[in-house]
Assembly symmetry: D2
Homo-oligomer: 354 residues x 4
């Protein structure tokens, strides 16, 4: 239970370091009988992969998924789906600058202390490259979910915020701009800002909002495995995430009950949705929406002081090809994790009644 | 796996409805040999129990814990610790006003749809009364944690916010005021505000901040069971919670990497702590701090329109004794859940190395 | 994960020592909507309880189950079912003879070494009294299983064996004799033998056979959670069990494939059933049958040499009221564990297909 | 939780069908810092692989393991160990004879009914080829266990039984004969018998005994996860296994307590070992020994009647290269599963005490 498994019934276990031979995972518990659309899976991988636009890392990785089991004649068979994503771009880099050095706000120090050993080539297991496996699995979860629609978009880059309520946005804009925000004007502003940040050799944080539509009533398991609690864990498990809020979120703390309560319509739907589609930890059929906070990427192209594993102070500067802002590529990761959570609760909910 | 278990090695499973005969739980995996301080456990229960001050619900429940197993001659034995908290205050209430009615922003509707049956006496399993079991278990987890200090306090009530950085606060103030905030002046302002809200028959949201000190390096299991991901899930599993952020949180999204990175001191500690004591999902020895958002309590003493289970619109008004603001009593719950998370990761971390 | 939980979806967690205030457990994941027959539950408890006949321990315990949650108006609600069984017969015994002494073939030595502390009053957690909680939970599982019929009977006491194939036996005989064997003549022989053993101050081993009928096709999860693997674990977790075999079992090792293969009928049923109702770890609709081996109870009323916790050799003799042969009272335990396994796989199987 | 994961802390998840591109798995929770001996891992794979002698299947598979993660500079890093074993020998076979036909005593029928779809190329997931992943993982578990020695050997082939107590056997004989029995004379007899069976186009069952030496006191988690219960499950999860007994096993049912009890020596060791090294579910430091029953392989080279998926009766005959007796190649599988169980309990036991 060393933490590399996610889910109870629709269950993903992953492996792989950024500079090892390959990443991959096993999806156990995917129901039999899903006719897979492999192009759709590949499309998700393309949304996450490096090198896709000028505002993301220029590293090149094809990030193609090779499925090894659990699929027969295009359909899932109910047996575990093993898959591998080769690391083709592990050039024999010079890692001497980080071998004995702990990069600030990276996981170098903590991994070394926890395990007494560290794969110093890149971020190793702590690299966001690990999320490629999540996207592959999430793409299959999405196909299981079928009509349930999971849509994420960038709602913040540094101080630039897209605070328009989601139902006033045009989601078809999202994939039209490299930032993956849902507003064409804001897209340009954000893109330019990210380019400027990159020129400064710096990075910047951001936010992603996500909306899940057509959710059936009844998903989520009280009391510890509330739907939003598991969604929160899913999001917080993504690299660089510092916060999660759903429905009214932090701004809901300022409201009164008389303002916050979602009154019913006669059909059981609600007139407002401060609850964010979840009541008592269980989906109520309204849209689920939440927001995820990402800190700026730790690797910057500026010189910083840091320490060696011997505790000596040294100056270091980031090398290589890194994202100036992580959120454009994190959009499919947020969706993938949301899809995995939903798929798991869909299966768990099959046991609620006699 | 219907969601009533929390933790992997230090594991709590709970049961109980607000108006059934009793609540309780089983702690499985608590190491043998802890000399328990039962007064300290009882003190935690008192911090959570209803009726403790004028700004909380005036319901009366002694909320004493009866331990049934796993303890011998004052020490934990390594076998499961079963415990029960009797519901002494379940008067033969008249529930006719909610029996066939779904209260707005409660879990009545979702439970009924999910299970096809609903214990309509009070909130049933969805009542925050369930958290009594968490506090009992958390009190034992705290004793296992020993030197690791978990301190929560109210940092927001409606628009009133205590934004002073935690290291400038005097934690000894917290238990001196009924709001459980860490500033004596703010305490009075908040208390008065809550009283006013109660007079209006309304409720209000709030926020709780929590600080964990003296944490050893190495807690947290990458990649899905990151320390902060599990803390986030723990907090989001508490009734009424809508958001969680740790370290720089949502404000960190606005920073640049050059501003956000925590530079090292030579001893491995960091000069700043935007990371909130966690890097790569693993504790780095700095203080862990996080903030939790609570929505306003849904039961208000004002008339609201709502629907019956038949879908008819009816007017209803809250009855009984409810909290005008949940955060004062939620402080020990936040601490309890944090302690359970830490205890579990302490045990998990014993397996990291050969 | 200290081992006191059984099952994945239909999940039982238990607590309690033989001489503490109470035993009990929590069933989490029992589907909502089961109309419980409480008399049937009580009847199962009576089958297991001490003092029921002259060939079992003469200790007196009412062993009534008090349900604390998860049931409303006679039906399961889908929330966790907490229950308690009080230990009413814990007289202030004199345990000085075992306080510092390890009884041979008991768990005294291993518990003390594992935990560094031991509840020396009776067997503590290692006492078979713990199985009362299993029977209570199994009784509910049986009601969920409905048409699936689980029947166990004593098929061996010492050298006395009832080897008649189960379909030639009259199961209505089982509860008519105190041994719980399925043959009235053998019942008398076995009963007399047990009485003689008791007079000798000795104990004797035995065997229980179990048949599960009306099992739907498809239960069991390959590859590690095969139906028979989980049944085997369930049985081996019962005190004093030394072996498990299903279908052709150990005698199947001597057969050829041409003899052992179960040829199909046109309807998918099989002409023989060496497979024991399970193929590839999944039920095939035929009867599941298996046999469980119980060693003789370790506490005998004869003097034996043993050691103290200081490693000194001392003579000791069993005191108190013990079973001369454990199998008559273990019949409902075997059924309970089988029912728990089946219930869990019933729920798990709901996720097999799209 | 579809059953493809084994273990709690030292945890193996596997994937792969007999005729897909590859098999493999992920070991999560292997402690960091183990210097791996890759030759030893390869040697275990060779013991299991087909084609190694004249009495096993003549299929050719190199069965080399490719490790993809979790190992750096020859040492485990604490991150998940992903590995793949390519299926190089999947010739474009003609499966028309089994595509629509259920082979007797195979898992064809049950998989088809459970999942509504079946990978009909060979046994798919139900093939014993799946155990290659177990052997790879078990080989790593063995290296973690270090001084704990796991030794299995064939103790039965049809009616031929090697009943000599294990401490009178010379374990160095085991790998000297293709049957993997621990007696050179019996080895020849068994080998000849298997050859004869193969000539008949038939198969035969057998038994494997296993001994675990140098086990520390304290392994095993009461009450459901008793050491022997988990060992039993591990063994019963291996293809073709029909029974498990440890210590005195089924013959212990015939003994009296006065005969069966293991009296202590002053140092806590016991004079006899009917308990099989486990008391109360916890290892007591004595040798653990157990026996596993294997049924005859279902695929025989003789014509049998069977049914199609349409329920029509047809004659069929096994094709391809199959084992006439599974036990010689199952010896390393038994050891691997035992090693996985022990490794898991070693880690779990680290949490027993304060």
């Amino acid at each position: 239970m060393a933490g590399n498994t996610f889910g109870t019934l629709f269950k993903l276990t992953t492996f792989g370091e950024s500079h090892g031979p390959a990443l991959g995972g096993i999806i156990d518990g995917c129901p039999a009988g899903i006719s897979l659309d492999f192009d759709a899976i590949e499309a998700e991988m393309q949304r996450r992969k490096p090198g896709q636009s000028k505002i993301v890392t220029q590293r090149k990785e094809p990030d193609s998924v090779r499925f090894l089991s659990g699929i027969f004649e295009g359909k899932t068979t109910g047996t575990p789906i093993g898959f591998v994503i080769e690391n083709t771009n592990q050039k024999s880099n010079d890692y001497s600058h980080i071998k004995d050095t702990y990069r600030p706000s990276h996981a170098d120090y903590t991994y070394d202390k926890k395990y007494g050993i560290r794969d110093y080539r890149g971020g190793g297991r702590s690299s966001a490259r690990e999320t490629a496996s999540r996207v592959a699995a999430g793409a299959i979860a999405k196909q299981f979910l079928n009509d349930i629609k999971v849509t994420a978009y960038v709602s913040g880059v540094g101080n630039l915020e897209l605070n328009t309520p989601y139902h006033q946005l045009d989601f078809s804009e999202i994939e039209k701009n490299p930032v993956r925000t849902a507003d064409s004007t804001m897209a340009v502003t954000m893109e330019n800002y990210i380019k400027q940040i990159r020129k400064e050799g710096d990075t910047v944080g951001g936010a992603i909002s996500c909306v899940i539509q057509n959710v059936p009533v009844g998903l989520g398991e009280p009391v510890f495995d509330k739907l939003h609690a598991q969604l929160g864990k899913a999001m917080l498990s993504i690299n660089a995430v510092k916060g999660f809020e759903y429905g009214s979120g932090f701004s809901g703390t300022k409201l009164k009950g008389s303002e916050h309560n979602d009154l019913f319509n006669e059909d059981g739907s609600t007139q407002t949705n401060h609850s964010g589609g979840v009541q008592g930890g269980i989906s109520n059929g309204e849209d689920i929406y939440f927001k995820v906070a990402f800190k700026p990427v730790a690797t910057i192209m500026q010189e910083q002081d840091t320490i060696t594993s011997e505790g000596k102070m040294v100056a270091m500067q980031g090398k290589g090809r890194h994202d100036p802002c992580v959120v454009p590529r994190a959009v499919p990761i947020v969706e993938a994790m949301a899809a995995l959570v939903l798929a798991d609760f869909m299966l768990l909910n099959r046991s609620s009644k006699l």
